[in-house]
Symmetry: C2
Subunit: 272 residues, 2 copies
């Protein structure tokens, strides 16, 4: 199995002039591959296209789609990471008018998460690292991820499978590599991501599922006090699906019926 392609060709090494390295000038998508097929692929491509428009990064979406499908076909199963950068640059921040985007695909086996994460739930570490509020980059899965690196360095134990992140104003935002959902009186709540945070593919899928299933759902500003009042809490991403959250610091929640219902729906989607 070839584990890496650059611009559609097997390769292991990248030009040192790539603007992805120089400035984090690009995006990535972490895509679950099952039975030689990229899962939730349309949503991944949509988010990538949105980011590229916002940052005026030229993108051939049809080419990316066909490369990803070919890569997934030879991978079979696992996780496919797609990085798209603005390609090589000269000195200075100004992008060249004729910049060409570069595609990097890397395959890896599905991470070996403990089965108990999905079955019995996890605890969140309460990260001290706060996310800065930058509406220009909010929602995008861009390559500027130092805040996540710092946050993930805050704990080393295996007790905490994820970390809760707030913004510099104290609002709830997300978990380090997942999105956050609360259930209160049968309503699905998730933090608004217009100031910071990554608008996850699984988050979008769950919001769409809720709409189709006539389950009330809202994206809005949420505080720690909302977490205290929540009936159920869970985190999600497009690789592992949904993990119920049992607690963070002194707060505790049961694994509730809404979480279990959504987990069942997601199991069908991810075929897990």
């Amino acid at each position: 199995m070839t584990v890496c392609w650059i611009d559609g060709v097997p390769a292991e090494a990248l030009s040192v002039k790539d603007r992805g390295l120089a400035y984090g000038d690009g995006f990535f998508e972490t895509i679950r591959v099952k039975a030689a097929t990229p899962l939730l692929f349309e949503r991944h491509l949509q988010r990538l296209a949105l980011g590229a428009r916002r940052l005026a990064l030229p993108l051939d979406l049809a080419q990316i789609e066909s490369e990803c499908r070919a890569f997934a076909a030879q991978m079979g199963e696992g996780v496919m990471k797609l990085i798209v950068t603005r390609g090589d640059g000269q000195r200075g921040y100004a992008p060249a008018a004729d910049a060409q985007s570069r595609r990097i695909l890397q395959g890896s086996p599905l991470p070996l998460y403990p089965k108990t994460n999905a079955e019995h739930g996890i605890r969140l570490f309460a990260c001290r690292t706060r996310l800065a509020e930058q509406p220009l980059l909010a929602g995008l899965k861009h390559l500027n991820r130092l805040e996540q690196v710092i946050a993930r360095s805050e704990w080393h134990d295996t007790e905490h499978a994820e970390g809760l992140m707030r913004d510099t104003s104290g609002r709830l935002v997300e978990a380090v590599s997942s999105n956050l959902f609360l259930v209160k009186a049968g309503v699905l709540l998730t933090p608004d991501l217009s100031r910071c945070g990554v608008a996850g593919v699984m988050r979008a899928e769950l919001l769409a599922m809720a709409e189709q299933g006539n389950m009330p759902a809202r994206a809005l500003d949420l505080q720690m006090s909302d977490l205290q009042k929540a009936d159920e809490v869970f985190v999600c991403n497009s690789v592992y699906g949904i993990w119920p959250v049992l607690g963070v610091e002194r707060l505790n929640w049961p694994v509730g019926p809404v979480t279990r219902k959504l987990q069942n729906l997601v199991r069908g989607l991810l075929d897990i």
Copy 2:
């Protein structure tokens, strides 16, 4: 002339697993080289060491110093860009306990700035892009530079040699690739950089020069109203030295005596 070294060895290509690409997990320094010597080199190394401590990135400073000196010796003259990353990573944000930093050195000729920039001054473009406030990363020259990429994309004319950047609260911070100084009643003023911005090597050098020369100087919070009241304005960095600022939007300043005095001192430093 070899234009690129990776970990001390001539090379043009980098592992796709490098965390500098994946997350912008690293730092860079842009160092002026004159007569085969890196200029203001101690200050560049100091800033790099500070960033590495703040992000717990392992660093062999003696090795970096000797590689940079050797690279500068064979370059002779120009600009040497040093990138230090956390090296290769596996999936996920958590840095490996045994992470080894990687050094990338790239040489390029001195940029051909118009001579009038230093002699007669420049105008600043007033960027709409605001810098997010993130104290954990403030001051560091890290690889998460999308805000600068977006800001530098705001103008394409040659009328504006630099862009003025404010933070999301409206405070003055810096220029896109330079630091900002104001002179008011003989006092040198520069924005405090504890929330965002890059603490430039030339900025540090000018503050030290002011102290040695008994010129009053302060780093503090500054607003657009301070710019309106300034007697002189200039920008600086370690490659071009000092450029007087003639204006931004409707504001205009003369090229004043403090700017000229500091330019003369910096010319000696950079040997320009």
